[in-house]
Each structure stands twice: as structure tokens, then as C-alpha cells.
């Protein structure tokens, strides 16, 4: 998988690039908007990570040029500043597939990259499987080893999010944002409580637990690849 990272901040570009390379992606870096646009038109990328504050041609202009071409359906992840909500809206309207606000954690960037790369396949995938755990999004049904598991709507959403990111670490903040649609650092242990409820229903056999706690990070369903 080849990724273009358009970011003019050298240290940040280096850090992100190394992190993605460690996850076996091929990464090209562009430090200016015009350079990024030229690279996108010359080479095929599986995903583009686009900072909005680029010299020469800003990120939004690059985005509009790429999408106006019509031939490029490559997923684009935009990096924005936290306070610029209108800018984020403009980016999504202009054809960005997702955005991430700075300062971001690499774990979240990595998760969003994976999600975007899998999205087209995932959209048609109504059934998620991790070992013998099966979640049917259409029928809203969960089974493990053929045994039906009754979940509340919130537990179902939580398990679905974990299974969509199977084999990968997700932080409590990511869970709060994606399952509760809330971006704040809760002082109560609401995420841990829901995870424990889920564990009691899903991991009834202690020999084969699927929901793992990752110290200092969060949780993971299934083993990493």
C-alpha cells in the first residue's frame, strides 16, 4: 500500500512517515501543495494524508483539484487544526473522506488510515468475524461459537467498533468518540465498565478471551497481525 503524506512540518512528517513505514506502508512525503498535487497526478496512491496548511498551494486547493479531476477516488484524510470547524466542513464537502485534528496520536492516525483503506470492502461487509465471534450488522445479531449473545444497543456499537478494528489497539478516547460521539476525557470509568459488561457476555470461556486490555493504551479485540 502506497501513501502520500503532504505535510510541510519536517519533524512531524518524519515521525508520521516512520510510523507508517513500520506498519509496512510505502510512504512518499510532499512538503508543499503544488508538489503534492504533481505527485498525485503522476503516481497512483492508495491513500493521501493531506495537511491543510501547505505552502504554495494550500491543502483545500489540492483537495479540490484532485476531486475535480473526477478520476481520483483515492481516500483522502485531512489534517486540521482543532478550532477550525468550518474548515473541516469545507474539506468534507470538497471530497475529503475523513479528518484528524492536531495534535493527534499516531495510534488514531494509524487506525483511521486502516479504516479508510478497508472502507470500500467494509461497506458491503455486513458480517464481521473474529475467530468464532460473529457480528451481523444487518440483523443486529451476535453469536460466539453458535451461541447467541444478547447485547444492549450500546454494547453492540462498542463490540462493532472493536471488531471493525480487530487486531488493532483502540484508545479509550477513540472509543468515546466513535461509540458515544463525545470528544472528552471522562473522569468516570464508563468505557471500562462497558468493556467489562461486554467481556462477561462475550468472553465467557477464560481460556480464549478475545477482548484484551492494552496497558496504558486501551483495548484490542483479537490478536495483532
Amino acid at each position: 500500500m502506497r501513501i502520500l503524506l503532504a505535510e510541510d512540518d519536517g519533524p512531524l512528517a518524519s515521525f508520521v512517515s516512520k510510523g507508517l513505514q513500520a506498519e509496512n506502508y510505502l510512504v512518499d512525503v510532499a512538503a508543499a501543495g503544488d508538489e503534492a498535487h504533481a505527485m498525485i497526478t503522476e503516481r497512483g496512491y492508495d491513500l493521501i494524508i493531506l495537511d491543510l496548511n501547505l505552502p504554495h498551494l494550500d491543502g483545500l486547493q489540492v483537495l479540490r483539484k484532485v476531486r475535480s479531476n473526477g478520476s481520483t477516488s483515492t481516500p483522502i484524510l485531512v489534517l486540521t487544526q482543532r478550532s477550525e470547524v468550518q474548515e473541516r466542513v469545507r474539506c468534507l464537502d470538497a471530497g475529503a473522506d475523513d479528518y484528524l485534528t492536531k495534535p493527534f496520536s499516531f495510534a488514531e492516525l494509524s487506525a483511521r488510515v486502516r479504516a479508510l483503506l478497508r472502507r470500500r470492502g467494509q461497506l458491503t461487509e455486513s458480517v464481521l468475524r473474529v475467530e468464532d465471534l460473529v457480528l451481523d450488522r444487518v440483523q443486529r445479531k451476535v453469536t460466539r461459537g453458535g451461541r447467541i449473545i444478547e447485547l444492549t444497543p450500546k454494547e453492540f456499537s462498542l463490540l462493532e467498533y472493536l471488531m471493525r478494528n480487530a487486531g488493532r489497539r483502540v484508545t479509550r478516547a477513540m472509543i468515546m468518540e466513535h461509540v458515544w460521539n463525545l470528544a472528552f476525557d471522562t473522569m468516570t470509568n464508563v468505557v471500562d465498565v462497558y468493556i467489562n459488561y461486554l467481556r462477561k457476555k462475550v468472553d465467557t470461556s477464560p481460556e480464549r478471551p478475545l477482548i484484551q486490555t492494552i496497558r496504558g493504551v486501551g483495548y484490542q479485540v483479537g490478536s495483532g497481525s
Binding site: R82, S83, K154, L182, T188, V190, G216
Partner: protein, 223 residues
């Protein structure tokens, strides 16, 4: 009358920011200059401090954005949002030996506030109340209509503040200016949350009822 020097969110923000940055700096310096076999613990501590800094930036960014351009109000069911928050956070409260209960929530209660501001604010306020309420006690949330407004009372021992904290909290929430002095992390966070509602016509009061309970009142416009 002497003018009392005031503090504001930006002064409190810088004070709050100093603490995790100092902790992070010390943690990394100490780790760099000594042999350590416990890197996971160091990283965990460092990440906690980074999360705290990010949260502060988030809160201040949100406030700055809303001060510049308040969000558009909509007709939104306050009772429904409160029920949702109680259902989600009540489980966490119960696990910690606390009870979150609501009254007056059966019928819709339409208020005129941006839902994107109201919903996270309610979750943050309830989250704060649960966290600061001692185990074995109740957080009682009551919704009432009063002369063209909706009033939400959050009563619990966790809502009890010292007189100076109360003064600072309400002043910061209503005007973004408070009396000069140190602002605790809790007062800062809660005042920021209330301020986002105040920018959309909400008003607050903190009444100390019979000890140990105290009540935070949030009054919201109705349409």
C-alpha cells in the same frame, strides 16, 4: 470601591497547562538520566500527561471557537438528552457504588440550545458530579419548567464547593472573568463547560442545601 484584579480562562489555562508539562518534562528528564527497566510505566505516565494537555487544548479551542461564533440554537429535547446521559453514565456510577437518578424526564422538554453544545456539556457535568460524589450516595437530577425556561437541578454531595470556589466557578461561567486566585482543575474544567452553555443563553446557580448535598442549577431558554 477597589477594583479586584481578575483572572480569566486564559490565565487559568496557562496555570493548568504548566502542571502536566512540568510533570512530563520531569518524567522524561529523570528517565533519560537514569537506568530504567520500566519503560511501559514511564510511557503510560507520559501518555496520561499528554492526554491532559490535549484535553486542555480541546476545551480552550472549543471555548475560543464558540466565543467567536456561537453555534446556531435548535429546538432540542432536554429530557431525552438527560435520559441518554443517565442511561450511559448511570452504569459507571453504579459500578462505583453511586446512584444517578432522574425526575421529570418522562415528557419531552424542548429547549432552544445548539445540541452539539448541550449534549457534551451534559455528559461532562454529570461525569464530574459522579466522579466527585462519594460512594454510596445519590446524584439526583430534576427537570422542571419555570416561567418560560427549563431548569435542570443536579443535586449531590459532589456538587459542594467552598465559597471561594463557588464564586470563581459562577463568575467564570457567566462572564469568563473571576476573582484573582488559583483555580483548581475541577473548577476550571466545569467552568469551561458551563461557559459554553452560557454563550447560548444558559444561566447557573449553585445552592448549598442541607449538608452534604448541594445543587447546581442550569436554566436554559425554551422555545
Amino acid at each position: 470601591m477597589t477594583t479586584v484584579p481578575e483572572t480569566d480562562f486564559y490565565a487559568a489555562f496557562l496555570h493548568e497547562l504548566n502542571q502536566p508539562v512540568t510533570a512530563l518534562r520531569n518524567l522524561l528528564e529523570l528517565t533519560a538520566y537514569r537506568e530504567s527497566n520500566d519503560w511501559p510505566a514511564v510511557v503510560e505516565d507520559a501518555l496520561e500527561n499528554v492526554e491532559r494537555i490535549v484535553e486542555l487544548i480541546d476545551l480552550m479551542s472549543e471555548l475560543k471557537r464558540l466565543e467567536r461564533t456561537p453555534a446556531a440554537p435548535e429546538r432540542v429535547d432536554l429530557a431525552g438528552l438527560v435520559r441518554e446521559a443517565i442511561e450511559d453514565l448511570g452504569i459507571a456510577a453504579a459500578e462505583n457504588g453511586k446512584q444517578l437518578q432522574g425526575e421529570g424526564l418522562a415528557a419531552p422538554a424542548w429547549v432552544w440550545v445548539p445540541p452539539a453544545v448541550l449534549r457534551p456539556a451534559l455528559f461532562r457535568i454529570f461525569d464530574d458530579a459522579i466522579h466527585h460524589t462519594p460512594s454510596g450516595q445519590i446524584i439526583n437530577i430534576v427537570l422542571r419548567y419555570y416561567s418560560g425556561t427549563a431548569r435542570l437541578d443536579i443535586a449531590s454531595a459532589g456538587m459542594r464547593f467552598s465559597p471561594s470556589e463557588r464564586e470563581t466557578l459562577l463568575a467564570l461561567a457567566h462572564t469568563s472573568r473571576g476573582p484573582r486566585g488559583a483555580v483548581t482543575r475541577r473548577v476550571f474544567r466545569l467552568a469551561l463547560t458551563l461557559r459554553t452553555l452560557a454563550l447560548h443563553a444558559a444561566k447557573f446557580a449553585l445552592s448549598a442545601g442541607e449538608a452534604p448535598t448541594a445543587t447546581l442549577q442550569i436554566v436554559l431558554p425554551v422555545k
